[in-house]
Amino acid sequence: MKLILNFWRKLTTPSKAAVGTVLAMGFLGGIIFWGAFNMGMEATNTEEFCSACHAPILKELKETIHYSNRSGVRAICSDCHVPHKWTDKIVRKVQASNEIVAFLMGKISTQEKFEARRKHLAVREWQRMKENDSQECRNCHNFEFMDFSEQGPRSRKQHSTALASGEKTCVDCHKGIAHQLPDMSDVPGW
C-alpha cells in the first residue's frame, strides 16, 4: 500500500528531468509496450500454440488444401478462427479464457472425448461464421474479385447464384473444408 502511495506521489510531482526526457521515455515505453503486447497476441495465434492442446485437429488439417496446396498460399488456425479486426480479436482472446478452463477440466483431453464433443464445437463455429457472413473466409477469398471463368462449372454455378444473392454464405456449403466432420445427420444440406 505504501508502495502505491509512493508511486502516486512520484507521478503527481514535477520531475527534475527535462520535458523532452520524460516525453521520450513515455513515447519509447509506449512503443515497446504496444509491440510486446501485440507480439504476445500473435504468438497465441500460431499453429504451434494452438496445436499444443488441439494436436489431433492439426493432424486432420494436414490432408487439406488450406494446409498444403499448389501455390503454397495457406491458412493457419488463427486465419479462420480469430477475427482480424483488432477489437473483435481482443473480444475473442478474452473469450479464450473459457478454453483455458475447458483445458483444465480436461474436456477434450482424449481422442474419445474430442470425438464426443466435436459436434458441439463445430456447431458453435458454423453459427459464428454464418453470423459474420464467413468474414474469415472473405479475408482471403474476396467474392468481388472471383474470376468465374477460371472456376469449374460446379463452382461457377453455385457461386454465381446462391453466394452472389447472399442467400448462402461460404460456410453453408464448405463445411469440412479444413477439418473432419462431426455427425452430420441433422445438419441442413447433408
Binding site: M25, G26, F37, I90, V91, V94
Partner: protein, 44 residues
C-alpha cells in the same frame, strides 16, 4: 452462442481494451519513474 453468452463476452472484451491501455500506461510509468530515480530525481 446464445445472446447471453454474446453479451457477456462482448462486455468483458470491450472493457478489456481500456484496461490494457491503463495497465500499459502504469507499466511504462513505473519503469520510467524507476529509471528517473537513478538520474534526475535522485533523493539527496
Amino acid at each position: 452462442m446464445s445472446t447471453l453468452e454474446y453479451v457477456i463476452w462482448h462486455i468483458l472484451g470491450y472493457t478489456a481494451i481500456p484496461f490494457i491501455f491503463l495497465v500499459g500506461f502504469i507499466g511504462v510509468a513505473g519503469v520510467s519513474v524507476w529509471a528517473l530515480s537513478f538520474t534526475s530525481d535522485k533523493k539527496k
